[in-house]
């Protein structure tokens, strides 16, 4: 039965993922009675956290009780416990399970709307850095900069200054990235 120990059906569970010292850890917090239970692997441990007098917090984990100091810092949470400090980063599940494979579409900038090229800032073969403006197009009173979406080298400039194009037309390609 799913839920009791969080490990009944043998499949992957969508638990929270944390990175501590470059290692991924999975854990889940569930409610039980008045408090919470921490699930790590097969283990289910009652857990409680309360503000301590004079700063910091008191963490109860199973039968153990210890003082901790928790300091959020952007995406990280620094936890000081027992003389050691751990930096914990929460990993967003949508990002974690996203695929990172780059297809050929990643090499071509397509026209977001029909328009005219008003400037080309790069030459074929030129190396470019992410964020660099490659080309400026104009359409419906708007100037849009086509910027390098990754580091690479310009492979083809498909349209030149003054040339008109339809929506979806290739504007500029970067050389394909070699797989590493």
């Amino acid at each position: 039965m799913r839920g009791a120990g969080l490990s009944g059906i043998g499949g992957v569970l969508m638990q929270h993922t944390f990175v501590i010292a470059e290692m991924e850890h999975e854990a889940w917090l569930s409610r039980r009675g008045d408090g919470y239970v921490l699930h790590v692997g097969e283990k289910a441990i009652p857990i409680a956290l309360a503000d301590a007098e004079g700063g910091g917090q008191v963490l109860g984990l199973g039968t153990e009780i210890c003082r901790v100091l928790i300091a959020p810092d952007g995406d990280l949470v620094h936890i000081h416990v027992d003389g050691s400090t751990f930096s914990v980063r929460y990993v967003d599940p949508v990002q974690r399970y996203g695929s990172h494979s780059g297809g050929s579409a990643d090499d071509i900038a397509e026209a977001p709307m029909p328009g005219v090229v008003i400037a080309v800032h790069v030459k074929e073969g030129q190396p470019v850095e992410t964020g660099e403006t490659l080309m400026v197009i104009e359409s419906m009173k708007l100037e849009t900069a086509i910027k390098a979406w990754r580091d690479g080298a310009v492979a083809v400039v498909h349209v030149g200054v003054g040339q008109a194009f339809q929506r979806g037309a290739p504007l500029l390609s970067l050389a394909p990235q070699s797989e590493t």
Partner: protein
């Protein structure tokens, strides 16, 4: 919800140039606000102190709970009209906290033309009371007006949304059970007399406060009767004899103390139960907005960079991230309030229009207030797009925005041109509030496009008469059109005519949104229902 990853390089020249430019615009705005609020001819301030009356700003400060925010609305109303001599249209309007309750203030500014009501003063009071009705906000009226500005009487009196609407709105508020408290701090003459009379409670200051349909000179002319202000409509007449006023006060300070007590007795509204979590500042500093907005309105920017600097933790759940990319839709929190955001990222195409109409229905379905971030040059034109039905897809957006029941709040961040203004909850579509950023522009089409169209018409007209125009002559036609168009499409012109509720410094937008969402939740939200979507 994931944090938006900003792609802006805050150390780039572009960013620094934008920042310097937009900070300059924000400083100008601040200075114009200050002048409209505080700068008065000495003789007007002298007259106030001779009459033993407080300046309107001091009255408001005394009324509000110390240390609480006050969101002033339409501070620069009338800034381009009446020779610039009627700052704020002679009215102060704004949302603040009195005795722990959200209220809206309508205050006549007697330091401006004796508090006379100009056409735009009437428009500002009507708008203030419309806001009170739509958001069920109790009203405190600080009355001190010389009456209607008679040389312009035709523009203040008879039409549907002119002065009569003030009293109609007051009656509707009362019918809805939204209380009004009026302080009579000067004369309430003719129409103005109805403001305290139509309020649930009113307080009148002995010596300076008076209410009458016709003042002593009018009475003298009409019937020959000689009567003093006090005998005709002073504090004692109305609190002891006529019952038109409720509480006499010996000083303005006492009147304001009584008003605070009265507000404290009103029933606290039950706010709509929408999702609210612990607030969190944006991860990206809102101050960076100055560097995000381009110096030239023609340059496109990613609205996600704006969203990242408005919402809690810069976190945004983007809806349909791969579809209709010229309209960015998604959910976020602002000061803990859950909101649906629609922000333009280019021209509206068929797919982005459908996405927008669909997303608005999602927000209505789950009762999430909607924030519209406008930067729109319009719907796409051309044969392909007409064949694909760009007009009927735009119509779907308009149908969805008009039929929406959840509160809408609109910020015009940059351009607002053509029908895009409509589909994105422009003024005509009853957003609860609409604000502009200082550099934004609003008009039926771009200035250059309009000047070209008008110049073309003129050239064709002349060529039919067998005349042709030299380039200098064409420029002579275009330039004045361009100039007039630029003037009328500026944010200052818009706010002067109350097409919006004020110009915001971009970095104040997050707080203004939070306050307006909070008051918007005082009113009930109906179940969603719409007209016919042309498929």
């Amino acid at each position: 919800m994931r944090r938006i990853e900003s792609k802006i390089d805050t150390s780039s020249d572009e960013f620094r140039l934008n920042r310097a430019h937009n900070r300059g615009l924000a400083d100008t705005l601040k200075e114009r606000h200050r002048a409209a609020r505080r700068e008065r001819p000495v003789r007007d301030l002298d007259r106030l102190s001779r009459q033993n009356k407080m300046f309107v700003r001091d009255r408001i400060e005394l009324l509000l709970d110390p240390g609480t925010p006050f969101l002033e609305l339409s501070t620069l109303a009338a800034n381009t009209e009446y020779g610039g001599e009627v700052p704020g249209a002679g009215i102060v309007s704004g949302i603040g906290i009195v005795n722990g309750r959200e209220i809206i203030i309508h205050a006549d500014d007697a330091s401006v033309k004796g508090g006379a009501w100009y056409p735009l003063s009437v428009k500002k009071i009507v708008r203030t009371l419309d806001i009170a009705i739509e958001n069920r906000l109790p009203v405190v009226h600080l009355c001190d007006s010389a009456g209607g500005f008679l040389p312009l009487q035709a523009d203040i009196f008879a039409d549907r949304y002119l002065a009569g609407r003030i009293f109609r709105n007051q009656s509707i508020l009362s019918k809805l059970g939204v209380p009004q408290i009026a302080l009579v701090l000067g004369h309430c003459t003719a129409g103005g007399a109805y403001v305290p009379a139509l309020s649930e409670y009113n307080v009148i200051v002995r010596g300076t406060g008076a209410i009458f349909l016709g003042g002593p000179p009018l009475v003298k002319a009409a019937t020959g009767e000689d009567v003093t202000v006090d005998e005709l409509g002073g504090a004692d007449v109305h609190t002891r004899i006529s019952g038109t006023a409720d509480y006499p006060a010996t000083t303005e300070e006492q009147a304001i103390a009584i008003a605070r007590e009265l507000v404290g007795q009103t029933q606290r509204p039950t706010k709509l139960d929408v999702e609210r979590i612990a607030p969190e500042p944006p991860y990206y500093d809102p101050d960076e907005l100055y560097g995000v907005i381009p110096r030239d309105i023609k340059i496109q920017f990613d609205v996600r960079e704006v969203i990242a600097r408005l919402v809690d933790g810069s976190r945004f759940h983007e809806y349909q991230p791969a579809y209709g990319n010229t309209l960015i839709c998604g959910f976020a929190h602002i000061w803990g309030f859950k909101v649906g955001i629609l922000g333009n990222n280019g021209v509206l195409f068929n797919d982005s229009s459908l996405k927008g109409a669909h997303f608005m229905q999602l927000c209505n379905q789950s009762r999430v207030p909607m924030i519209f971030l406008q930067n729109i040059t319009g719907y796409m034109v051309g044969r392909d797009y007409e064949h694909r039905g760009i007009t009927k897809d735009g119509a779907k957006m308009i149908m969805a925005v008009s039929g929406s029941e959840v509160p809408k709040i609109t910020v015009i961040c940059n351009g607002s041109f053509g029908a895009g203004n409509y589909g994105m909850a422009g003024r005509a579509f009853d957003p609860r509030f609409l604000f502009m950023w200082p550099q934004s522009q609003i008009s039926v089409m771009g200035a250059e496009q309009a000047a070209n169209v008008l110049a073309d018409i003129k050239i064709r007209q002349l060529s039919r008469e067998g005349r042709s125009l030299a380039p200098a002559e064409i420029a002579a036609i275009r330039e004045p059109i361009l100039e007039e168009y630029r003037r009328q499409s500026s944010a200052y012109y818009s706010t002067s005519h109350l097409w919006d509720d004020g110009i915001l410094d971009p970095t104040n937008t997050r707080n203004a949104l939070a306050m307006t969402i909070s008051v918007a939740l005082n009113a009930p939200i109906d179940r969603p229902h719409y007209g016919v979507f042309r498929m």
